[in-house]
Amino acid sequence: MADIVLDKVSKKYPDGTVAVHDVDLEIADGEFIILVGPSGCGKSTTLNMIAGLEDISSGELRIGGERVNDRAPKDRDIAMVFQSYALYPNMTVRENMAFPLRLAKMDRKVVDEKVGEAARVLELTDYLDRRPANLSGGQRQRVAMGRAIVRSPKAFLMDEPLSNLDAKLRVQMRTQVSRLQKQLGTTTVYVTHDQTEAMTLGDRVVVMRGGYIQQVGDPQTLYDQPRNLFVAGFIGSPAMNFLPAEAEESLLRTPLGDLPLTDRLRASLARTGPAGGARQLIVGVRPEHFEDAALVEDSQRPKGFEFTAPVDLVESMGSDKYVYFTVEGQRASAADLEDLAADAGGADLPPQDSLVTRLSAESRVRGGADAKVWMNLDKLHLFDPSDGRNITLTEDKPGAHAD
């Protein structure tokens, strides 16, 4: 077991593509860290560099304090689980799991013992003599995990290990992976493009985009204090609502109406831009920060803003309701939002002219009619459309600086 440190690590592929830019990351011993981001953002490249399957173009990689840039994968003592599972089709489950131990020239008896133990943990004992071709998707996935855990490596690397499973199995395996990691306490770097997986699994989550780290933090911090538009839109399902806005003296013009500027927002604006004059912004509100105006307690009411809009669609989830509203007017536009839209798989961005709200199950709102909705101004984020940064983050929060 060991910690892993990436110190200004970059990757430039032979064809000139720079897939990873100066990544700095410290992964603590025993930590479960998730790399998440849209497809093509450099997650696999980063993982492969840690594995030793790709050369590091510049920067330093340290595992357990030692620089390992120039070590072959086999000398790094790291195990990896591939998206395709990469099981050896010509070997049985037993042989697959024993393969790394065999290569390490371990004693046959020890090998049998370790394979048996791993198979027991993963409930594969009955399948040891089968070939991968005769296993189900979930079983293959477990064999791949088994091959990784048998030799008790310093760290596990997993590249989208669950993305070939169907939705239900994926949820099951997610818990199993999580439990296994806690049980073994082995440092784990896990790559996924699925934000739900990232939020549920990781101790900490690294959001990447275009080869750059966007934000590192525990799931709740990423959710509550997204550093920029990209992170805000990527994390959370359904995604945050974005609306174009214009800040004036004491109010914020939005397609929903003119919002009053609370002290918090006023302070943010003052801190980050020149005083006076109209300023273009993007407002971000999470679906759960809306409520049916009829159900808001009177004590809460002044903290928010009420507006009326036509209801497009109501989806009842039992515990609450997703209500979609049509919003007239312009759309919010920024480079970050385009990137998010381009990656339809990652974030569940709503269609831009619609507002997604999550209201109490008791709400009587109905499709086709107008409804009065309350929006919590305390939870509102303001983003600068030119560079995407979140200007409502206060100074004292770590990592609030943006250059």
Binding site: L53, P73, K74, A86, Y88, F99, L103
Partner: protein
């Protein structure tokens, strides 16, 4: 039951259609000289005489040695060269790849007879005429497109992730190749070797044009020269026996490797 019966009948027709000419030549090879011309499909008197005769003549034995030697050497070289090229085509990116694929396609369609006149002259001038290498060279050339197509189709199916996985499991580059990739590539190489062997074994045009003596004549050519050879009064029985002998390896291949041959032929030709 009705459907099953209909399929059964159709299958039987196919099997009969495919096997009758083979059974006929087998039958002829076992007939005695007296019954050879009776026109019966099944011999009324069985004899090994024809086989004994051909194995006692130098003409056939030499030809058999030539056939086996030339086909094996050609197969070996074509498969080695084809494997190298197919690996490059399926795994590496380099300019000229398309050109190579195009050239092999052209050669696969090339009329071999167009080469007979010039090769005849070139080989006579270079001393290759009527030698093993004189036949091996054109065989390799025309087998290479087949080998390259079939092998690249096979190689594209190998999950190359496994190479990475093996390295992560602690294998060196060499071990990854030996223990993981080679076992997966072997069936494709083996299948290709069978197809190439069949191709070389089958050739008649080059063999009859570029040889003139027993030194390098292969069996198909020797068969056609049995006619009129003085030691045989009626060569039919001997020709049939010789024909059966060179059909045996083909039958064995087909019986044991039916699946692979089908996979090889179709992957090479369709998925290209």
């Amino acid at each position: 039951m009705g459907a099953k019966f209909r399929w059964g009948v159709l299958d039987a027709v196919v099997v009969v259609f495919a096997l009758i000419p083979v059974l006929w030549i087998v039958s002829l090879s076992f007939k005695t000289t007296a019954t050879l011309t009776d026109g019966n499909f099944i011999p009324r008197e069985w004899t090994w005489e024809n086989y004994r005769t051909i194995f006692q003549t130098d003409q056939f034995v030499r030809a058999l040695v030539n056939s086996i030697g030339i086909a094996l050497i050609s197969t070996l070289i074509a498969v080695v060269l084809g494997t190298m090229a197919a690996y490059a085509i399926s795994r590496l990116d380099f300019p000229g790849k398309k050109a190579l694929v195009g050239v092999s396609l052209l050669i696969a369609m090339f009329p071999q007879v167009s080469l007979v006149s010039p090769l005849f002259d070139i080989e006579r001038n270079t001393g290759l005429f009527d030698t093993w290498p004189g036949l091996i060279l054109p065989y390799i050339t025309f087998a290479l497109p087949l080998a390259i197509y079939t092998l690249s189709a096979f190689f594209k199916q190998i999950p190359w992730d496994l190479e990475k996985a093996a390295k992560m499991d602690g294998a060196t580059q060499g071990e990854a190749f030996r223990k993981v990739i080679a076992p997966l590539a072997a069936p494709g190489v083996f299948t290709t070797a069978i197809l190439v062997f069949i191709f070389c074994w089958n050739d008649f045009l080059f063999a009859i044009s570029l040889t003139s003596t027993e030194r390098s004549r292969t069996v198909p050519v020797a068969l056609s020269f049995f006619t009129g050879a003085s030691q045989f009064e009626d060569p039919t029985g001997a020709i049939s026996a010789a024909a059966v002998v060179i059909t045996i390896p083909i039958i064995l291949f087909v019986l044991f490797f039916q699946r692979r041959i089908v996979a090889g032929l179709t992957s090479g030709a369709v998925k290209g």
